[in-house]
Symmetry: C2
Subunit: 136 residues, 2 copies
DNA sequence: TCTCAAATGCAACAATGATGCAAATGTATT
DNA sequence: AATACATTTGCATCATTGTTGCATTTGAGA
């Protein structure tokens, strides 16, 4: 699926900023921060445009946001595009990267009476395979 | 355990700001934001002092931070004080409250080869028991 | 090509995280 | 109880991020 098709499917205008963001996020194996995405984009966009593009893409479930700590926000393609289901996220303490763990499904949690869950976010922090190798 | 004792145990100076924060957090059944804590404090402290107090208390594992979305940060007593172990957090979409689910332990996730986990954060979003009742 | 809603760029503001430094304060010692 | 010193505070200041209003520009259908 191409970025343009995704935009069309969602009745979103094809603007170079949106198209660029989707393409960058689609290629990357890791979730990317706003700045990491900006660096890989061809055009130069105003911060507001960028911000609003993220918001739009997120609202249409084309990308999803992963918040590690406050002040550390990353974006990745959404499940509805990748068709890989709900998954845990991994944050590497060493290289600060964030990855969608497509093979690690979210487990079910039993809540006390009266509580109902709609969505569960799992963030696993540790050392990624890349950084582990470097220690050997 | 009193706030003063906690500070002493960690070799931290007993300042009214730190003492106040611990007391407020200790009493509350819910995790509280910076502003919610400030409102309940007697004294009036500079924002920087406040910020640095949180940082110190967090570093000494007296309180812990729960990040819901970026821009939504709450604080609660840490496990090392409550002795209740690692637990999931619950965020109520309706009333915006955050609670430590002491009875909901973190489950183990099987990671791909090469990845090692140090810590797992689980945030369950939904409707809390209070808000559910109100719908009846 | 024209039209119009939608998106962009710019200005501006709020909230939050963070640091340097002088003044004030907590605590151990005398 | 007074002193001394390291720690903490308050203030100024700055960077980053989230957010909104508005005039201009642009995408896409007629």
């Amino acid at each position: 699926m191409k970025a343009v098709d995704i935009l069309n499917n969602h009745n979103l205008k094809r603007t170079s900023c949106r198209e660029g963001i989707i393409e960058v996020v689609m290629i990357s194996r890791q979730a990317l921060s706003e700045n990491e995405i900006r660096e890989q984009l061809v055009g130069n966009y105003d911060r507001t445009t960028f911000y609003r593009s993220f918001k739009t893409l997120e609202e249409h479930k084309i990308i999803h946001k992963i918040v590690v700590d406050n002040q550390c926000v990353k974006y990745a393609l959404d499940n509805t595009i990748t068709h890989k289901g709900e998954h845990a996220h991994f944050y590497c303490n060493t290289c600060d990267s964030v990855q969608c763990m497509d093979k690690v499904p979210i487990q079910k949690y039993q809540l006390p009476d009266g509580y109902s869950d709609i969505e569960t976010e799992v963030l696993i922090k540790g050392t990624c395979s890349n950084c582990k190798q470097e220690n050997n």
